[in-house]
Amino acid sequence: MNKYKERPQPFPVIHKNECKACDRCVITCKNNALEMSNELNDSGYNYVIYKGEGCIGCGNCYYTCPEPLAIEVHIPKRRKKDKAENSDNNIVESNINKKEE
């Protein structure tokens, strides 16, 4: 297990204004890492928040979420040595800034 100690954690990115509080992700989360906030988003719904730990990057929340743009799951992976960043097909992802917890 030592090997994994060196890794950053996966985590969900929740765009709170896209959430409609249907609860599906909360129910499906294996580690019970999600919960419904008491606050309302701009559309007037409660919204899901990440408890801050427990995400295992399984993607279940994404797959059960009915809103295509509401949840992303970010999973850090150890970079393969020969794979450089210069591939044209790869898109630099800056969404990370939007993380709303």
């Binding site: 297990m1 994994y4 100690k5 060196e6 890794r7 950053p8 954690q9 996966p10 985590f11 990115v13 765009h15 204004n17 896209e18 409609k20 509080a21 249907c22 609860d23 599906r24 909360v26 129910i27 499906t28 701009d42 559309s43 719904y45 295992i56 990057g57 399984c58 993607g59 279940n60 994404y62 797959y63 059960t64 979420c65 009915p66 809103e67 295509p68 743009l69 949840i71 992303e72 799951v73 970010h74 999973i75 850090p76 992976k77 150890r78 970079r79 960043e85 790869n90 898109i91 630099v92 992802e93 800056s94 969404n95 990370i96 800034n97 993380k99």
Partner: protein, 508 residues
Amino acid sequence: MKNHSSINVDSHSKEFETKITNQNTNLDLEEFETKIIKKPKSINDSFTRKGGDFPNVTHYCAGCGHGILHKLIGEAMDDLDIQERSVMISPVGCSVFCYYYFNCGNVQTAHGRAPAVGTGITRAENNAIVMAYQGDGDLASIGLNETIQAANRGEKIAVFFINNTIYGMTGGQMAPTTLIGEVTITSQGGRDPDSTGYPMHMCELLDNLEAPVFIERVSLADVKQVRKAKIAIKKALQVQKEGKGYTFIEVLSPCPTNLRQDAKGAEEFIKNHMEKEFPVKRFRDKSKETKPLVRNESDFSMESLDKIFKVDRKNDVETISKTDFENVNVKIAGFGGQGVLSAGLTLAEAACSEGRHVSWYPSYGPEQRGGTSNCSVVIAGDTIGSPVVNECDVLIALNKPALEKFKEKVKEKGLIIYDSRIGEYKTDKKIKVVSVPAVDIATSCGNPKAMNTAILGVLMEIGKNKNILSKDAYYEGIREIFASKPKLIDLNIEVLEAGAKWMRENSK
């Protein structure tokens, strides 16, 4: 978390399930890249077609299955790299606005008609990958015929059938798939089979047909089922990518709003009730043994058209107007099958080949299938008014009812030619009456069926001094009529001449 650049990778990769459980320690982040599970590129980044204050939120209710399915289809489109080839058909129902979400060609259609529209698209554009996204009312009720028929033709369409046992958009009415006892706005005491029948099993129904390539029922009850659904959807779109034919995916989906359920309740309803009534399974997968269906390419060239219509532009005949030409009106009548219509057409073709104005008009409908039939031929020097002949110059009667019916309509100085088997007919009017042993004449040439041609021969002989139609014209008429059966041309010309010869020998 520290801000760092990450790489968006194929979200379908199984690797994302790798368990990462440990605490955050001092890490060299450069060693890591980030995989992001997020909406596929075949789903729009923002739903600008929807507009409004929240363009990044679907128009669906909280907990609705449509959004989940949209993502799954979008992912499969990404995985198979078919986004550019894809055409999504939006139906009528909650998913009427599918085109807000799918980043590909979009066509919105009338209620239930998606399979017909899909047929039109796939026939016109062989390379297009056509998807029809339909709800239970749309597909299994108003569009049931289109659904079954498109499936039976094996159209190259991927149908996604969202079964949530209810009409969503119109406010929760009973659907064809509503379960027995299920309460809806229009089945307030629960669906009663005595008055409303039973839930419609679409997969089972379509599985009776020969043509469909792939049929599977999936469920969106929980994440396990969702992931299974993804596999089925990808499989169906693989069939489309290869152009193999019809695929049908039924998706059991929650409608928490109309069924008044929360997420837990919806999951339980699908698992414990819907899946009992509609078993989740793969009904058919003929994708391996089915070969791609390739349609011919359209040919728009003048040469090919002229060829199939047998147009000879070098030997064109112009229609000439001759106002001094006295119109000739011919009525030909007899049993269907006696060659009434073809005799008229031969005469008309003859006139056409001489550049006359001419029209031919048949009695149509059931008469031509067995009863008496007749046709009118007008040969004129100028543009023809009515093509229907009542008062005629020439009556050709091939049976007795025909003679009885039309004899009074022959004008003074007119002509009646009839088959001698009818028996003797006399008239006080100034009408030339010729009784022709047409069958004998035709039989003497070896084909009793050509009796109509024998009578035309008689007509040719009688009219030869009146400069109406030349012998060449009659020959040409026969050549045109029998163009597709060249063997019969010489025979009929022989019968024609025999008819003329009989007339010469029997006229005073």
